[in-house]
Amino acid sequence: MGILTLATRSLRQHQAQTRSLAVLGGALAAGALIIPPLRERFLQHPFAVAGFLVLVLFVVAFWTIPSDFTRRMRKNPLSLAGFTLIVLFIALAILAPLLAPTPSSSRDPYLIPQEGFATDPRPPRPGHPFGTTEGQYDLYYGIVWGTRTALRVSMVVILISVVIGLALGGVSGYYGGRLDEAIMRITDIFLAFPSLILAVVVVAVLGRSLTNVMIAIALVNWPIYARLLRGDILTVRGRDFVEAAKAMGGGDVRIITKHIVPNAIYPFLVFTTLDVGLIVLTAAALSFLGLGAEVGYADWGMLINLSRNWILGAPGNPFAYWYVLIFPGAAIFLFVLGWNLLGDAVRDILDPRLRGAG
């Protein structure tokens, strides 16, 4: 609800922008309703369309409400690019059923449709705009639906890592003492592993599947969150307002949630943003080692892994199979790039040391 009121308020403030957006939106909607096949698709997936509209509203609201954050972002073309990329990917994920309709014979939209079974990839052609990769999996379909997978994997992993990290890091930083010591030694153990190796062992033990990939990455990821939060809490804990709250007899949980977390959250946010890219890369690396998503599942890492044998091209024509790597490679690259750009921007904006300098 808040979003809507904010949006309307901001819309009023930016008449010119709003008008052009409204015209554009109206034209798109009208076009969609007039062209029958499009209309049909829209009507078939009301949730996707609704989700898309919410996203548009949200972005417009975010962008038009004046704030220090957006003002800074506007100044930095790179962060703007990052923001745009991420919004586009989210839109792509939401609209996946419209952009790449699942064949009626398929029981799971995440399984990429195959055209025959032949090994050698075949180049882009009508019906397969990005071509088909090894095993004749449609690259376009895989990339569109893979966006959902990438977002899901990173969100789930971050959620698990944050929950564990918050709990352990919070306890560790707030109470200190032996508990802190013990928790920190546990994080030492996890961090002493090359994270990829630990993830490989976990997936190898639990079996190859996307769920296990998420579990594995979360398992190697949480200690960083725990440490980060602990450090933040340590710096915040000594400050006056926390001492004051303690003196006033505030409960531990209340102090943590009311005073410490809000103040420690920003570096956390920066890290989370940057981590999305890292998670997707780790998942891809697991795929590369043959421990990622099931073959045929809409996942960029899986598609890149299928391209592995074809990257070197055919004899005499090194770029004969360019499309098998370029499309999924570009998807993963742009996605990670978007998050990295945004993360860097957020850090610069939030880093007080860099503020106002230069």
């Binding site: 014979s105 090994t119 090894e134 073959v295 045929g296 074809w310 005499g316």
Partner: protein, 585 residues
């Protein structure tokens, strides 16, 4: 800043400096042959090695056998360390078919110069039998000579009585060695052609290996680590090449020419086996001439075709049968997602789904063999009609197999379980070991074909890691799975048993038992009359067709080498290349 510049200049000059050298189509390393493979050997001990990667490096290169295959034939033999191939006619094989006599070649020397004697041969055979590591090859000799599959009792204690028996079964007199079998065993000579590698007894004992007595057996038997055997990475054989080094760090084995070989020394001075797991660098090494022969999967074939200076041999016969297995009694203890609900309600299959012959025949007739062979094998496989692969004794070229016929398949499914299968539909999983694209493709074809019959038929395809695959398969949890079988020695029995005998590797996991097949297989082992023996395997093929518990394919082998490699020839029984005859030009 300056340091950086220097570095860049260094890198650039380095790069430019070396480009000139590497190009050019002259033969690279003309007296050294480099084979680049994707797997390490497990051990170079002839009694321990039981994988192609190990065997291809030592067999007939470092160690030699009593007899050898004649050219590309798997059923005809020529003498190697023996002076003639024993037959009943020349008195080498006794009338009852149980005793084989080999007269040894004079003047054969081991790599350290000591002459080979009958004592060495006996020691080698006994050593092979009594090493008997778990999962090792020792049964190949134990079974025909002693009639036993292993050397340990139920509790894992070594049976010393077996050694006394074996000691009597293998006798030396002068330079003749005679081996008496437990029962007549038709394929014994093909076993001798592959598994009678002769090691140097005196030298081995000096290396701390088995001392040749019953008392020393405890140390020899079932070593815990491959390294525990003295011949793990050292060798002293009679072959045309000497083992210089097996470097496990850089993952390569170096063989050097034996200049005192009993025949003309080999043309190649050195043979090097290197391991490179990734196909990319492997192909590039072939392209640049840094590798002479490389392992290439069928999937990757199109990427080596038309490479200048490279020869692709896509259809060499080999002794491999690939099977798609149906499980007649799936284990569901602790839940089994691969059979869905476990009931015939359209969302699963009952545990004994494939016990119904109509279901199995339905599957066999629904499967599109042509598409599978074209797409999964690039056309380089033939449809099998039973376990025994094409080209081997016992294969029936006129044996019947099912033709792809959706109408007949549908009819069979309609009949199954009184029409319930057809009316309710089913759902089950076809599994393959992930990474094996051929098996994955076969599974997908199966899915497409069965689902096309009836919208209520649902098949899932699932790739699992090799470790999981073994585990699931052994627990009989997979309703349908795909795996291959490569010959231990070139004989029909080595295929009939694992595919059709109720105690064989696959039937025991499929819960398949046909008493008639069991009886025929046991007869086939001891039957020495060729015609009668052939009839037995033809009959077994008929049973395979009628029971349809497994679908068979005979894939052919792909070999890729630089065209400057000369003197190469193929024998389906080879584990790798026979380097003695080869050269580079």
């Amino acid at each position: 800043m300056t340091a950086l510049k220097t570095l860049m200049v260094l890198a650039l000059s380095l790069a430019l400096g070396v480009t000139g050298v590497a190009y050019g189509q002259a033969v690279k390393n003309p007296d050294t042959l480099v084979k680049v493979k994707f797997g390490d050997p497990e051990s170079l001990d002839p009694a321990y090695a039981y994988d192609t990667s190990s065997s291809e490096q030592i067999l007939w290169h470092v160690y030699e056998t009593l007899v050898f295959f004649n050219g590309g034939s798997t059923g005809q033999f020529v003498p190697m360390l023996a002076t003639e191939v024993p037959t009943v006619a020349n008195g080498g094989i006794s009338k009852d078919g149980k005793t084989y006599r080999f007269k040894l070649r004079e003047g054969v020397k081991f790599h350290d110069g000591t002459p080979m004697t009958a004592e060495d041969v006996k020691y080698s055979l006994l050593r092979f039998m009594f090493m008997d590591r778990d999962g090792g090859p020792s049964w190949i000799l134990l079974a025909p000579i002693l009639g036993e599959e292993g050397t340990r009792d139920e509790k894992g204690v070594l049976r010393t009585d077996l050694f006394t028996k074996a000691d009597q079964a293998i006798k030396t007199s002068g330079n003749t060695i005679s081996i008496t079998l437990n029962k007549p065993f038709a394929p014994f000579l093909s076993i001798m052609a592959e598994w009678s590698m002769v090691v140097n007894k005196k030298w081995a004992i000096a290396q701390g290996d088995w001392n040749g007595t019953a008392a020393g057996l405890a140390r020899l038997n079932n070593p815990k680590k491959p390294e525990d055997t003295a011949l793990f990475s050292k060798a002293n054989g009679t072959g045309p090449f000497k083992l210089v080094q097996w470097d496990r760090q850089s993952r390569q084995t170096i063989l050097e020419r034996n200049d005192n070989y009993w025949r003309k020394p080999a043309a190649l001075r050195r043979v090097i086996y290197r391991v490179v797991e990734d196909f990319g660098p492997r192909r590039l090494m072939l392209q640049q001439g840094d590798a002479d022969i490389v392992d290439v999967n069928r999937t990757e074939q199109s990427q080596v075709e038309n490479l200048p200076g490279v020869r692709v041999l896509p259809d060499l016969p080999q002794l491999v049968t690939q099977g798609i297995y149906m499980n007649l009694n799936v284990d569901t203890t602790g839940g089994n997602p691969d059979v869905g609900s476990g009931r015939l309600d359209g969302n699963g299959v009952p545990v004994d789904f494939f016990a119904d012959i109509n279901v199995r025949r339905g599957v066999a007739q629904a499967f599109d063999y042509q598409t599978a062979i074209r797409d999964c094998y690039r056309g380089y496989a033939t449809l099998g009609n039973g376990p025994v692969p094409k080209g081997m004794f016992g294969y029936n070229p006129n044996g019947k197999w099912y033709a792809t016929d959706p109408a007949k398949a549908a009819a069979a499914f309609r009949e199954a379980r009184g029409g319930q299968v057809w009316n309710n539909g089913f759902k089950f999983t076809v599994a393959f070991n992930s990474g094996n694209t051929t098996r994955q493709c076969l599974a997908q074809v199966m899915k497409a074909n069965l689902e096309a019959l009836n919208p209520k038929f649902k098949v899932d395809v699932r790739g699992v890691t090799w470790a999981q695959y073994l585990s699931l398969y052994r627990q009989k949890k997979l309703p349908m799975w795909i795996i291959g079988w490569a010959a231990d020695f070139p004989d029909a029995d080595n295929f009939a048993s694992p595919f059709m005998h109720s105690s064989g590797t696959y039937p025991s996991a499929q819960s398949y038992k046909n008493p008639e097949a069991d009886k025929l297989i046991e007869q086939g082992r001891t039957e020495t009359d060729t015609a009668k023996r052939r009839a037995i395997y033809f009959k077994l093929q008929e049973i395979a067709f009628n029971d349809a518990h497994t679908l068979y394919f005979y894939p052919v082998k792909l070999t890729v080498m630089r065209s400057w490699v000369r003197g190469w020839y193929n024998n389906p029984a080879f584990f790798g290349e026979y380097m003695y005859t080869m050269s580079k030009q």
